[in-house]
């Protein structure tokens, strides 16, 4: 038997390699650097790697290749757009992660133990969150560009494992945070198992693990259709779990609430881009010809997801849980882009993912600012009168909420309009009607928060708004500018997306 050495296109892979390299440097910094210099070094390494990777993605934006890594990685227009979105979202999330107040000094210590207290008092703050972030980002970058099932699974794990850990790093309410991490891990493990199970069936169906192979089998027909259906179903479960679609959403409110808020921001925004990126690629290329096997199922899931997310969000009294249910509703809206299965749907989804991601990070950035002496205040009742105490913070949060609600002149409106019109164009009228109605329901709870902030009087209970650090300010201001700019002048971005958004097969 003869072995041929693998041929790798390093230019195309460089964004991911840069991130992995940065992550390894981060681990070394963590091990050998003196603790005084560690935080600033870690931050510089992380931001530096992300920026470098972004520059590299920009340079390869017009490349198209099925064989970046022996047929396991595909680089095309949508890949570039997804990777760029993930990087930009990660960049602003890292600005929030840089707030050491949010993270436990020593994650390995038992909650409430002597060891933990000692670590906190001595100022011996560990900064492992940075390399973990970079590993997760690298996994997210690989996820939507994988073109075989093994790489896809590896990417899924690379992105998930650091996130499980990061969810447990919160300094306040350590137990809730660890519970969130454990829950996320256990359910994530289940979904990974489903995913693998589906992959195995698809291999059984097509005797291939590459997307091209499976696609050819689907187009050619003749295989065992039961295997194909089971394969699609289980693979979908794994993917739907990651995007938080009903009925695989149960983890997200608890994890969103328990995880440190900067991590929640990162997770909510960037993971969605990665997971939907992979979904779009798989359904648009591999399963496109089996549309009637999955489209009805996804239609039902999309409708349930948006209606459920919007309805349950109304009952929430905690801002992080409310944003979690809102993100479930948005997962439903995004699924309409997958169902559309046309070029307009792909373009709309890519725009929506980017716009939604930026707005989400901005909204969570605001959540990190509202505090009392015991840390963040997430009880919505205590957000009363925020508009009086800190008008600019409240205005920023209101802008993000209006964008979530899809009010014109915000990015959320353009996203909703384009994704619904794509779905309507493909004939998915029922989803569009459900989407419009649940938008109306959703508007109710977004508006309720605006009422709380602006139209009720503050209660004096020690809740105050932290003066944002310069990094957090940058994150909020950037998110706000993008949210409004994409709502008022979306044309350049839409054109850019339109030029690139074609999957190669």
């Amino acid at each position: 038997m003869e072995f041929s050495s693998p041929v790798l296109n390093y230019t195309l892979l460089s964004p991911m390699l840069i991130l992995l390299g940065g992550a390894i440097i981060g681990v070394l910094v963590e091990a050998f650097m003196s603790k005084a210099l560690r935080p600033i070094t870690q931050l510089s390494v992380t931001l530096g790697s992300l920026v470098l990777a972004l520059v590299q993605v920009w340079r390869i934006r017009n490349e198209k290749s099925l064989s970046a890594a022996m047929g396991s990685v595909v680089i095309d227009g949508p890949a570039v757009l997804m990777q760029a979105s993930i990087l930009i979202i990660s960049l602003i999330s890292v600005l929030l992660i840089a707030d050491a107040q949010q993270f436990t000094a020593l994650a390995a210590a038992l909650p409430g133990s002597e060891e933990e207290r000692h670590a906190l008092q001595s100022g011996n703050q560990v900064t492992e969150v940075y390399p973990l972030t970079l590993f997760a980002v690298a996994g997210m970058m690989l996820f939507p560009v994988s073109s075989d099932l093994i790489t896809l699974f590896v990417a899924l794990e690379v992105l998930s494992l650091p996130l499980y850990l990061m969810a447990g790093l919160s300094r306040r309410r350590r137990l809730a945070s660890q519970e969130a991490a454990l829950k996320y891990f256990l359910l994530g493990a289940f979904s990974s198992a489903f995913f693998l199970f589906g992959a195995a069936f698809l291999y059984g169906y097509s005797s291939s693990i590459t997307f091209t192979g499976i696609r050819n089998a689907v187009v050619g027909g003749g295989g065992n259709d039961v295997f194909l259906l089971i394969g699609i179903a289980f693979l979908s479960v794994g993917l739907l779990f990651k995007v938080g679609a009903v009925p695989f959403h149960a983890w997200s409110p608890d994890v969103y609430q328990g995880a440190p808020t900067p991590v929640t921001a990162f997770m909510a925004a960037a993971t969605k881009v990665a997971a939907f990126g992979a979904m779009l690629r798989i359904y648009y290329t591999v399963f496109a010809n089996a549309q009637w096997s999955w489209s009805p199922m996804l239609t039902i899931i999309a409708i349930i997801t948006m209606v459920f997310g919007s309805l349950v969000a109304i009952a929430q009294r905690d801002v992080k849980r409310m944003l979690a249910y809102s993100s479930i509703a948005h997962a439903g809206f995004l699924l309409t882009g997958v169902i559309a299965l046309n070029k307009a749907g792909l373009e709309a989804s890519l725009f929506y993912l980017f716009a939604y991601g930026i707005t989400t990070v901005g909204a969570f950035a605001i959540v990190t600012l509202v505090r009392d002496s015991a840390g963040e205040v997430t009880d919505l009742n205590r957000w009363k009168g925020l508009g009086k105490r800190s008008p600019w913070v409240a205005i920023a949060f209101a802008t993000f909420l209006l964008s979530f609600a899809g009010i014109p002149l915000t990015s959320g409106f353009i996203g909703k309009f384009s994704i619904f019109s794509a779905a309507y164009e493909s004939g998915a009228t029922s989803v569009v009607i459900a989407g419009v109605l649940s938008s109306a329901i959703a508007a109710f709870f977004y508006v309720r928060v605006i009422v709380l902030m602006f139209f009720t009087d503050p209660i004096e209970d020690g809740t105050s708004v932290e003066i944002p650090s310069s990094l957090t300010s940058i994150a909020v201001i950037f998110s706000m500018i993008v949210t409004i700019a994409l709502g008022v002048f979306p044309a350049p971005i839409l054109d850019f997306i339109s030029n690139l958004a074609t999957f190669i097969r």
């Binding site: 014109p408 419009v436 508007a443 044309a491």
Partner: protein
Amino acid sequence: MNSLVLLMLLPIIGSIAVAATPKTKEVLSKQVALATTVIVAIATIAMAMNFQRDNVDLQFVEKYSWIPTFGINFSVGVDGLALVLILMSTILAPIVVLSGWNEAHGGRWSVKTFYILILVLETMMIGVFAATDVFLFYVIFEAMLIPVYFLIGGYGTGERSAAAVKFLIYSLFGGLLMLASIIALYVMSGAQGGHTFDLQALSQLEMSSTTQNFLFLGFFIAFAIKAPLWPLHTWLPDAASSATPGTSVLLLGVLDKVGTFGMIRYCLTLFPEASKTFTPLIMVLAVISIVYGAILAIGQKDLKRLIAFTSISHFGFITMGIFAMTSQGHSGATLYMFNHGFSTAALFIVGGWMIARRGSSTIADFGGLQRVTPVMAWSFFLAGMSSLALPGLSSFVSEFLVLVGTFTRYPVHAVIATFGIVLAALYILIPVQKALHGPTTPGNEGLSDLNLREKVAIAPVMAIIIALGFYPASLLNVINPASAHVIAQMGFTDPAPTNGDK
């Protein structure tokens, strides 16, 4: 200066100027706001002079590419209908600023913010009537909810935040239904020769009657909530009684007109067949609104709620005139929109002064104002007479035209609607009697009469009400060609008048 876009820019520039004034100098920000609105009003009147009356095409057309990917343009233009409504909005704006000189003081936020919101709203009011791109119209239609929401919730009285939320949720719900219809139109235009939102192009679309019916409903429900038509009216009394008088004038006088304007501009133009299908139903709803609004108005104890219910009755008349599908009915409805703007403004403004002086909006708390504050009492009386359509005042002409226009095609509806006029006499004369006449209620002896600023503010409203009562032709000459054009496009001819001797 014949540019609608420039006209839209003026209030924005004014709002930036207001924002630049120091927070402590409240009077300065009021003066800047007043100056801006006056300039806009003069500019609009100047434009209206250049309008060619007999030309039924859109005039002052401007078009800029906005989001080419979706075929969206920033395109504006006016016909007689839109011009009249823009004129009404921009004339009302300085009156609102001047009459409500002190009404921003009870608010949650600074006086400055109030005027910024008013000026931003003025830009949108011009834009919403001028837009000829359906997407642009929708964007402004929805976006203008935000300043109004903050105006009600931030500066109103009583249950202001609940009223603001009710208003917003109702409107958003209607807007989203309209969005679904707009998306469908957009997709169909893509299938029939390229994506566009141009109103003219969309009205040429071919679609099945079922599709047309559904899309019509999407638009119509949104407009019926705005207008508001029974049974979608419940947000209005709450919003109007919580908002400041000035905000109420803009809300009922201008924003609600977007609903009736939209019925003509969008429902009839885009879906002529569906409009005919639903006409019987809508005529019934309109008649119910007329009678229901009037009866409830009679029962109100609160002055602001009373005015709100009279408006529901009046919007019933306007809707009836629109869907009667005769040129008199249409002209009457358009003129009614204009006149209702001023008569409601007069009621709210004078009523607002009365309420501010007395510290209560309950009608029973007033009494004998005629003796104490004659000028204010006579102003309220005149405003009331205009509202009940006394001959010689502007509303009479429009109400008469609507009834005549309706009678030729729907005699039964017209006859029932006529009872609305009788009821109107009741709902106006009862509060007039209770508040103005009779012995002066204890505690009211010291009330002060209108000052110079207030007289200056109310004078133009009264002048317009009287002038248009005697010489409505000045406006009808602009409105008639546009109305005849719409009716002709729908394929209707006016039925021959019924001869009484037959």
